[in-house]
Amino acid sequence: MAYSNKVIDHYENPRNVGSLPKDDANVGTGLVGAPECGDVMKLQVKVNPETGVIDDAKFKTFGCGSAIASSSLATEWLKGKTVDQALAIKNTDIVAELSLPPVKIHCSVLAEDAIKAAIADYKAKQDKDKGVPASAGHAQPNA
């Protein structure tokens, strides 16, 4: 399979690999995918509560080169965006930027899901602080 140069670049020099403190009220964590499907993405955003702007974003991905590239690119795009702007990122934007072939489109879908899950988690935390019941849209340990 031939990879685009951008996929290879993100694979070889991934941006923003790492973790943010997941218990921080300003950090949202999205964990999507499943090991048996061959890809799991963890994507985190740290939001400035004053401005609503994403100050930092980190990822860790178990998956193929295109999955790694999709999540790496997503963190790059997230930084400096407001939460609402972040929610407007579409998987098709990622497909276009990385020239993903049709069999790899699911990698971009997963990255979009990860963004949405991270922001949902951040919002849930904020709501919880304000006394609203939490809801979660991502993987979590069974009780």
Partner: protein, 441 residues
């Protein structure tokens, strides 16, 4: 799956085999600590195919231009020369597997041999029964053939395998009915290199009066295979897995006790005792014969050399990395074969990181079907480990230096990808991944 580029022009003089790919040394991203004499990319996918041994090529060459006759031309020397060459090759192949020359039918390869054996028996022994026993980790050339026969009314039992990749002889016995006409079980698996208990299966088949076919394409030429010791009635083999050319193979068909009859699947001229019509691929057959002769003479030393290299590879990987799982029995295994799952790292991303090493993976991302390897799934390893598997196939031109390079490179890449893996992080934090509620997609 990474493929090596084709051999550059003429093979090296016999010195030490063909030269693969471009002659370049490791770049700045590779282990640059020492001067590397070997050529990149490194080919370590000898289960997929093997390069033609220069000695084989030399034997074949005259049969393209000089001795180009049709082996079926009975009236002139061109035909006689071709026929003589074919008969020498038939004897060479027979000698490798302990058969007599008349029991060797030349085909286009093991896929055709498997089709001929299975369909040929199903059709010929239809009156006797319609039940075939095979196993879930067979090559698709066997499984798809059985599926086709099922559509035509045959009944097929697909035996499961145990965790070590071998079938259970008790389950085989239990599966046999009075309608069973054929047992077909591979000698060695192409993905995990595990050897099945062929002699024991042969004894059971003989005891029950059932024909026994084995797809031995990965085993012939690598480990001793004797059709009489193993009580095999039919055996498929292929030249390109044993340093011969692509497009030629053979089916061994037993001629006495019992005499196996097959319904031919290709009509037109009655070549190969009527079992396989079509003008013989004389240069290919000469190459197969020569390849068989070399394997017979050199198997013992080659197997020992490769076993040591395989152990070196396996030991070094385990020394450098934790959470590695060898897929399939280590005891009952081809000497040149190793299949390892690197937990928490996805196979395709691993292949991408070792792009100057040609190996293959059971990861879904590397397969056309986007399903992880059905062989590894059948071992009960779990899909996640199937996604993380790499198959190493060592061969005639694999060197110690290459093994060490692959170990070094893999170690670096696995460590890097684990640093990037959320699963590895969670496991290190003490999370039990099996208790997670994953959102499958």
């Amino acid at each position: 799956m990474r493929r090596p580029s084709s051999c550059d022009g003429a093979p090296d003089e016999y010195a030490w085999g063909p030269s693969f790919g471009r002659a370049r040394t490791a770049g700045p991203k590779g282990p640059a600590l020492r001067e590397l004499k070997m050529k990149l990319p490194i080919y370590m996918d000898y289960h997929a195919t093997t390069p033609v041994d220069p000695r084989v090529l030399e034997a074949m060459t005259p049969y393209f231009t000089q001795h180009f006759g049709n082996a079926a031309s009975r009236n002139h020397s061109f035909g006689w020369e071709a026929e003589e060459a074919v008969e020498i090759a038939r004897k060479q192949v027979a000698d490798l597997i302990g058969a007599s020359a008349k029991e060797v039918i030349f085909t286009s390869g093991a896929t055709e041999s498997n089709n001929l054996a299975i369909k040929g028996v199903a059709e010929m022994y239809r009156e006797k029964g319609n039940h075939i026993i095979t196993c879930v980790i067979e090559h698709k050339a066997v499984i798809d053939t059985c599926k086709k026969l099922e559509k035509q009314g045959a009944r097929v039992t697909y035996l499961p395998v145990q965790k070590d990749g071998r079938i259970s002889l008790n389950e085989l016995r239990d599966a046999i009915t009075d309608k069973t006409i054929l047992i077909t079980i591979m000698t060695a698996n192409n993905e995990i290199g595990v050897l099945q208990p062929i002699a024991e299966i042969g004894a059971i088949a003989k005891e029950k009066g059932i024909l026994f076919h084995t797809d031995a394409v990965q085993a012939v030429g690598k480990v001793p295979v004797n059709v009489n010791d193993l009580k095999v009635d039919m055996l498929s083999l292929s030249a390109h897995k044993m340093y011969g050319p692509k497009g030629v193979g053979a089916l061994y068909v037993r001629r006495r006790s019992p005499r196996v009859l097959l319904a031919e699947q290709i009509n037109g001229g009655g070549h190969e005792r009527g079992m396989r019509s079509g003008t013989l691929n004389v240069p290919g057959i000469v190459g197969l014969g020569k390849a068989a002769e070399i394997c017979k003479n050199e198997m013992a030393t080659e197997a020992e050399r490769l076993r040591k290299l395989r152990e070196r590879l396996n030991a070094a990987l385990h020394k450098n990395l934790d959470e590695l799982y060898v897929n399939g029995s280590m005891e009952h295994r081809l000497p040149h074969s190793l299949n390892v799952s690197f937990a928490y790292v996805e196979g395709e991303s691993l292949l991408m990181g070792i792009n100057d090493v040609a190996v293959s993976s059971g990861s879904a991302c590397t397969s056309a079907s986007l399903e992880p390897s059905y062989v590894l799934k059948a071992l009960g390893a779990g899909d996640d480990l199937a996604h993380s598997s790499i198959r190493f196939g060592l061969g005639r031109w694999t060197t110690e230096e290459e093994v060490d390079y692959v170990v070094e490179k893999l170690t670096t890449v696995v460590r890097r990808l684990r640093e990037m893996s959320p699963l590895y992080e969670m496991v290190k934090e003490g999370v039990d991944l099996s208790k997670m509620q994953w959102v499958t997609h």
